[in-house]
């Protein structure tokens, strides 16, 4: 009960002190404002990047593993791995036949080519050679038509499925189904159109693509290229077991002698995320440390002004003690004042940061999440309490006789 009364009294005094010294409080809190703006913008940028990354990366699919010649994040010296043999479609077919864990298997390869329709031309479209299960593995949905059929892959038929952008560019007013587009001087009949998929890592458009049978790809785009085997796993919880199974099958297919290292890599989304978190963590730590420095400077300003405030109100402190204020109550009063000034700065800083983040949203994916708000307010509060402690302690320990004597 007494603590609550003291708390309210402290709050009242703190508000009154800030009201009485508006300009001084505003100037003092400026350091905190700057600190909080930088800290929360930094946190918002990191958060925004994380969100954008996770959204992008989910396009890969958490339950899909990629069997490739090289690992995504290579830790071996390049000269040890460069002579590896290509991964082939035969591997993919054999894997699909032998695996218990695979739900769908696709052999995928791609290349950039120009695509023509009549007089219109789209340069640098990603031509994806894939198999009939590619739609399942990549989680593709169609707005029109159908995906490539097994027979079409088997027979290397000249058919294609268009990405949303390609379809929209060539056929703004009509259905593309049944139309013929040209890729590398070869004609393909459109059998399907994909729904919009967005971009990968905010750079690579996933809609500027055309899917064709990989067998056809071999004939007109690139002769027997190295492929990626994409495998959708039946049970996400069993990815480690699935990896082991795929590894065994691949070793057998590629005649790797027992004791020799794998001459292929099994990649998955998690590796990407791990890498990003490692890099992102370092960036975040360095960034927050640097922005934290500005907050530190702001905190020193608060401490300074709190010493002034204590000195100015020496007589008041003496009076309060004479009337029965315990050291605790005086400590609380000045801590609250410092914390309140800082919290005010934190709120202003957060407002400015929010505005800045909204303004920069088109360039940089920033996000002022509840976490950032909590962080900013928490940090400003803690700064206030730390910076205010020494002055408040001095006030609390003051001798009432001495304090009352001051004029």
């Amino acid at each position: 009960m007494r603590l609550i009364a003291e708390l309210f009294e402290g709050l009242w005094i703190a508000l009154d002190a800030i009201r009485a010294n508006k300009l001084r409080s505003a100037l003092t809190t400026l350091g905190i404002v700057v600190g909080i703006v930088t800290v929360s913008l930094m946190a918002a940028a990191i958060d925004g990047l994380n969100q954008a990354f996770i959204k992008s990366i989910s396009a890969i699919g958490a339950d899909v593993v990629f069997i490739e010649k090289f690992p995504w994040f290579n830790e071996e010296p390049w000269w040890k791995v460069r002579n590896r043999n290509d991964i082939t479609q035969a591997h993919a077919r054999a894997l699909a036949k032998q695996s218990q864990h695979a739900e769908a298997v696709a052999a995928v390869t791609f290349s950039r080519r120009a695509v023509r329709y009549g007089d219109a031309i789209a340069t640098s479209v990603t031509i994806v050679g894939t198999t009939e299960q590619g739609a399942i593995v990549d989680g593709l949905n169609l707005t029109e038509g159908r995906f490539l059929a097994a027979a079409e892959v088997e027979g290397a038929r000249p058919v294609c499925v268009l990405g949303a952008d390609v379809a929209a560019n060539f056929f703004p007013y009509e259905s593309p189904l049944g139309k013929r587009v040209r890729i590398s001087d070869s004609t393909f009949e459109v059998v399907g159109v994909l729904t919009r998929r967005g971009t990968f890592l905010a750079m690579e458009s996933l809609d500027n693509q055309v899917f064709i049978p990989i067998t056809r790809f071999n004939q007109v785009v690139s002769w027997r290229p190295n492929v990626t085997i994409r495998v959708k796993v039946k049970d996400m919880k069993k990815i480690p077991e699935a990896r082991e199974e795929f590894r065994g099958i691949m070793r057998k297919l590629r005649n790797v002698a027992p004791g020799d290292a794998d001459d292929f890599a099994i990649n998955e989304q998690q590796a990407f995320i791990n890498m990003f978190h490692r890099v992102g963590g370092v960036i975040a730590a360095v960034g927050l440390f640097i922005t934290g420095l500005s907050l530190f400077v702001g905190g020193i300003g608060i401490m300074n002004i709190m010493f002034v405030s204590v000195a100015e109100r020496t007589k008041e402190i003496g009076l309060r003690k004479a009337l029965g204020a315990k050291p605790r109550a005086i400590l609380l009063q000045f801590l609250l004042e410092a914390a309140l000034i800082c919290l005010l700065g934190g709120l202003i800083g957060l407002g400015l940061a929010w505005g800045a983040a909204a303004g920069a949203a088109s360039v940089l994916p920033m996000r002022i999440s509840p976490m950032v708000v909590g962080l900013a307010l928490g940090v400003s509060l803690v700064t206030g309490v730390i910076a205010g402690f020494l002055p408040a302690w001095r006030a609390a320990k003051m001798d009432p006789v001495e304090a009352l004597r001051v004029e």
């Binding site: 009960m1 007494r2 603590l3 009364a5 003291e6 309210f8 009294e9 009154d16 009485a20 007589k315 008041e316 009076l319 309060r320 003690k321 004479a322 009337l323 029965g324 204020a325 315990k326 050291p327 605790r328 109550a329 009432p400 006789v401 009352l404």
Partner: protein
């Protein structure tokens, strides 16, 4: 039993090389309901005496019993509590919070006693009414006259129902007419049974009390009961 019992109180301050002896062995008893003036010129030790009686300071040696408890060995927290409960201070320069209303100023000691807000309000109103300021509870100190400010201070001193009202030169900052009004108020409070100790260097002020203790060079020089006409 005495309300206040001082036994061989000394107080010295170390000022660098030399030691200042402010009190050299004071023994004094004051009963409940007494109206005592502590008289003495500046430098006599009467301020130290007041700080001691008000539990703002503790003696270097000796024993101070207030209301049956020994306060000479208490720490800061215990002393704060004793001041809050037992002592009502009235200062020469009023010492009101300039930005707070009369009502809030009077509520202050109850804040530190942990009295709930509505009871605080009620009691502060009653105390201000008692000193004749019921009409001016919402005014800030700079909107009040000197006499009114000291009345607010008296109300503040009374509001926690302390054992002692301790006034330090209560008329020092007032003109003689308002000074007399305040002293009349003290007489009134004394008649109602309050224990009052007034510290002053003015004989005329001290004459209003019913007992006068003169302090000189850190010792009690005389202790006499004043005969009222």
């Amino acid at each position: 039993m005495s309300l206040i019992r001082l036994t061989d109180i000394t107080r010295h301050y170390d000022m660098g090389a030399e030691t200042v002896h402010a009190l050299r062995g004071v023994s004094l008893s004051i009963d409940r309901g007494e109206y005592v003036a502590l008289m003495g010129p500046s430098g006599s030790g009467k301020s130290t005496m007041m700080n001691m009686l008000g539990c703002l300071d503790t003696p270097s040696s000796g024993r101070y019993e207030l209301n049956g408890t020994d306060v000479s060995e208490m720490d800061d927290n215990e002393l704060a509590e004793v001041r809050n409960r037992e002592i009502g201070f009235i200062f020469q320069s009023f010492n009101l919070l300039p930005r707070a209303t009369a009502l809030r100023n009077v509520e202050l000691p109850m804040v530190y006693a942990g009295v709930p807000a509505d009871e605080r309000h009620e009691r502060a109103m009653a105390a201000l009414t008692q000193v004749g300021l019921a009409e001016r509870v919402g005014h800030k100190p700079n909107e009040l006259s000197g006499g009114q400010r000291q009345r607010v201070a008296v109300a503040r001193a009374l509001v926690n129902k302390p054992s002692i009202l301790l006034a330090d030169e209560p008329t020092g900052n007032l003109d003689s007419k308002t000074g007399k009004e305040i002293l009349a108020l003290f007489n009134e409070l004394s008649a109602k049974g309050n224990t009052i100790i007034v510290v002053t260097h003015e004989e005329a002020v001290a004459r209003h009390a019913r007992r006068m203790v003169r302090i000189l060079d850190g010792l009690i020089a005389s202790d006499e009961v004043l005969v009222k006409d």
